[in-house]
């Protein structure tokens, strides 16, 4: 087992890649009672065609999320909810664009909980009947999201930004997609992407690392897995957006707007990806968050009343920043954002302040076992690494590199989504 020290933060991560390819990250914290464990496959809603028997197979959108639901069905009748309920343990699962994660958190019965997590995620049981039943439940879930403007603004904007990249489509798919899903397709996806080679565990909290690894190895040694090489179809995504502007109607009080830019990242090859992302995020925060001159000006001109929400998303070739806000006079806000992005200026003191914020925020992360778990999981998914030198990376951020980023930045590909009140025409 390897020990990875996280410099400055006084944290130590235990890492091991076991025989069948499964990677394990453990961050012990003996000052709390609780344990937080996630078991993740690097497979999510981003639905790339994948190679099966020398042919690319395209399955319906939403299948990763459907699979997540179906893993809770177990042949012997003891499902995860029932199992974890017996020890007062909370269990759940979630699907993002690039991963599906199964989690439990609880104080008691840790070793059994861990073994059960491995066991249920590694024993699929799909029947025509239980697949049909799930369609009704997921239909209700998708309708629930359709009633949430916060969700629509995000999904629809991503749809308008991308042309052929599968990230274009919502993680859960549409109702029309999911009703087509079959048991056979679920098994194909499962066999390809739920191979230990494509999965990892992150455990944070009051656990003993040696004992944990031993438990995992014993459990995995009893099981056999096929050798599977995952091959996804390469998809070429253009820089230009699919749709520059769209106005839709929904249940909103005043217009709710997303301003999104699709930044090509090829020009940033010279810099580490994580560091690049830190610069870009710091930049967008400096320009548009509550400490920005822009937001202050918008408030003074009565154009904005609540802060701009800043969200981001990555693909291999692009980084997206999505600014969402509510404004009656949104054209003026859009124009204002255009102007700021046309001539980006970041002051040294602003960058220094954000650097301090980033360094500090990592401490808040390490102080909380669920946040720490999420941080490790996301690092693994985004960078296939956990950035143990995060402090040094943050510490080394400087104005010169920031300016270089700005010089190479292309923010000309944008898409704007406007949600207007459905009762006004």
């Amino acid at each position: 087992m390897k020990k990875i020290k996280i410099g400055f933060y006084n944290s130590e991560i235990y890492y091991e890649k076991i025989k069948n390819g499964l990677e394990v990250y453990i961050l012990p914290n003996k000052t709390v009672n609780n344990v937080f464990a996630t078991f993740t496959t690097k497979y999510g809603g981003c639905n790339f065609p994948f190679n099966i028997n020398n042919k690319y197979m395209k399955v319906p959108n939403g299948i990763a999320h459907f699979l997540e639901h179906k893993m809770f069905e177990q042949k012997n009748g003891l499902d995860p909810f029932t199992f974890y309920n017996k020890s007062g343990t909370y269990c759940n699962a979630f699907t993002n664009y690039y991963n599906t994660s199964y989690l439990f958190t609880g104080v008691d019965n840790y070793k059994e909980n861990l073994k059960y997590l491995l066991n249920y995620v590694q024993s699929p049981y799909f029947t025509d009947e239980n697949v049909e039943k799930e369609k009704g439940i997921i239909t209700q879930e998708l309708k629930m999201y359709d009633d949430m403007p916060d969700n629509i603004i995000f999904e629809r904007t991503i749809y308008n930004l991308f042309n052929s990249h599968p990230i274009k489509y919502p993680v859960g798919g549409t109702i029309a997609d999911i009703v087509k899903i079959t048991k056979e397709e679920l098994y194909s996806c499962y066999k390809t992407f739920y191979n230990p080679n494509n999965m990892f565990l992150v455990i944070t909290g009051n656990v003993d690392p040696e004992d944990t690894i031993k438990t995992i190895k014993e459990n995995q040694d009893e099981k056999e897995f096929d050798d599977i090489a995952i091959e996804l179809e390469k998809i070429d995504e253009e820089d230009k957006v699919a749709k520059k502007e769209e106005i839709i109607k929904h249940n909103v009080a005043i217009p709710y707007v997303a301003y999104a830019v699709k930044i090509p990242v090829s020009k940033f090859d010279y810099i580490d990806k994580k560091k690049r992302n830190l610069y870009l995020s710091s930049m967008f925060n400096i320009l548009f968050d509550e400490t920005s001159l822009f937001f202050e000006k918008m408030k003074e001109e009565d154009l904005l009343d609540t802060p701009i929400d800043i969200d981001t998303l990555d693909t291999d070739k692009h980084k997206v920043f999505l600014l969402s806000f509510k404004s009656k006079d949104y054209r003026k806000v859009i124009k204002g954002i255009d102007e700021v992005l046309e001539k980006i200026v970041i002051k040294e003191e602003e960058l220094n302040r954000k650097r301090k914020v980033n360094i500090s925020n990592m401490l808040y992360v390490f102080d909380d076992i669920s946040k720490a778990n999420k941080w490790l999981l996301n690092n693994k998914i985004m960078y296939d690494d956990i950035y143990s030198n995060i402090y040094d990376v943050l510490k080394s951020m400087n104005k010169k590199e920031m300016d270089e980023i700005i010089d190479n930045l292309n923010v000309s590909n944008k898409s704007v989504l406007i949600i207007e009140n459905q009762d006004t025409d």
Binding site: N33, K86, M144, N251, V252, D367
Partner: protein, 419 residues
């Protein structure tokens, strides 16, 4: 971990000394008996206090100051429990070993600045800052329907008796917002400091003498208040269930059912009601989940949540409107909670005890725990576990006889444009 309650005359300082965390948390709590007519200005006031101050007189300067203090977390909220409204302002900042030697002093100074040095001149709040908060509150009140689950739950509670505190909306009311002025808000601020009961919780590795002397020196409120609020709401009867249907442009209809628990003993309120609710609709093995979702595929979300201080349980679900009667019938049947098994009860107890066992795991949990002891004379962790284990199936059955449906609220989706 060491707990100490220090009486500083007009308020209590609850010091929880621990080296568990890399941060220190200070939470200042103001509470009083909830009054519907004051809710809007109370919300307004705390928004105001936590966005500018006399020294940091624009929101931008204020936010920059927060970042300069090593990204200090500032939080504030109004919460109601039974007859009580509690408003807190809390700060959570890094320990000095990760920042600099003055961070404790500077952070506490900021906290005092925003409580005692508000953005006020000539007896009124600064007009520009005041209007910005007013606009923000107006927008939030106008946008309530955008969070449809919250809206549905609030709407069903509003249908309760209008003098019942459970029906009050914590974001306030548009008609009250219109009446608030820079002057009246400042008057309310002064009144709040004079009349509210104040408790301060500090969680972290801090030097007792140092922190006590800082508070004695700088946190000065000089009135003595008597804590005589009857915290819990009790019901001895329930009128016939009120059923209300409303329409909105939604893909999915939402259902919310408010249950009243009559004549609760203290033991039932604290231990039986939460267990009853867990078995009914607490998670992936609950009766509602099993019957409404898994067996009949009628819903994705179907849950029950207790509000023990209010003697209330709320059931919420998202369904298709044509399934409303079927869902309601299933829910009504399960509310009776017939034939509870030993296993169901044991599992529900495990879940409750599990949440008790993490009460000391985070600063916010620790504060909630000691707040409960201070305000509700709540049991200690050991007592909570012991008492929870005492609950029998008979207790659950007796409680289920006291459960009455007060409100059935259906928010119907107008369009059913699926597929």
């Amino acid at each position: 971990m060491k707990y100490e309650k220090i009486n500083l005359g007009s308020y209590n300082l609850h010091l929880i000394n621990t080296d568990k965390f890399k941060t220190t948390t200070i939470s200042v709590n103001f509470r009083e008996k909830i009054k519907k007519e004051d809710i809007t200005k109370r919300k307004f006031l705390f928004q105001m206090l936590c966005s500018t101050s006399l020294k940091y007189n624009t929101n931008r300067l204020f936010e920059i100051k927060l970042e300069d203090l090593y990204s200090i977390n500032l939080g504030h909220s109004n919460i109601k429990f039974g007859n009580i409204i509690n408003s807190y302002i809390d700060i959570n900042f890094l320990n000095e070993e990760y920042s600099d030697d003055n961070l404790l002093t500077e952070s506490v100074d900021l906290l005092f600045e925003l409580i005692f040095n508000p953005n006020v001149k000539d007896g009124k709040f600064d007009t520009k800052a005041f209007n910005q908060i007013k606009d923000k509150m107006n927008l939030i009140l106008d946008s309530e329907k955008e969070n449809i689950q919250k809206y549905t739950l609030n709407r069903s509670l509003e249908l309760m008796d209008e003098s019942d505190p459970v029906s009050f909306n914590l974001w306030g009311y548009k008609e009250d917002l219109d009446k608030i002025t820079e002057e009246s808000l400042y008057e309310y601020y002064k009144e709040l400091l004079k009349t509210n009961i104040v408790d301060i919780f500090i969680v972290g590795n801090v030097d007792k003498d140092k922190i006590v002397s800082i508070f004695k020196d700088k946190f000065k409120i000089n009135t003595i208040k008597k804590d005589d609020i009857e915290a819990f709401v009790s019901y001895d009867k329930c009128k016939r269930a009120k059923t209300v249907e409303e329409e909105m442009n939604l893909k999915q209809s939402k259902i919310s059912i408010v249950l009243k628990a009559l004549n609760l003993s203290l033991f039932e309120r604290r231990y039986v009601l939460p267990l009853y609710t867990t078995i009914l609709g607490g998670g992936g093995t609950s009766r509602l989940f099993e019957n409404v979702r898994e067996k009949n595929s009628l819903a994705y979300t179907i849950t029950a949540v207790p509000k023990s201080p209010n003697s209330i349980i709320m059931i919420y679900g998202g369904i298709d409107k044509e399934n409303f009667n079927q869902a309601l019938k299933l829910i009504k049947k399960e509310i009776k909670l017939k034939h509870v098994t030993e296993e169901e009860l044991e599992n529900a107890k495990k879940e409750q005890i599990s949440s008790v066992n993490i009460l000391l795991d985070s600063p916010s949990n620790i504060i909630n725990y000691y707040f409960g002891i201070e305000v509700f004379k709540a049991d200690t962790i050991e007592e909570k576990i012991e008492n929870c284990n005492k609950v029998t199936i008979k207790d659950i059955e007796m409680l289920s006889n006291k459960i009455k449906i007060a409100i059935v609220y259906l928010l119907k989706g107008k369009s059913n444009e699926e597929n």
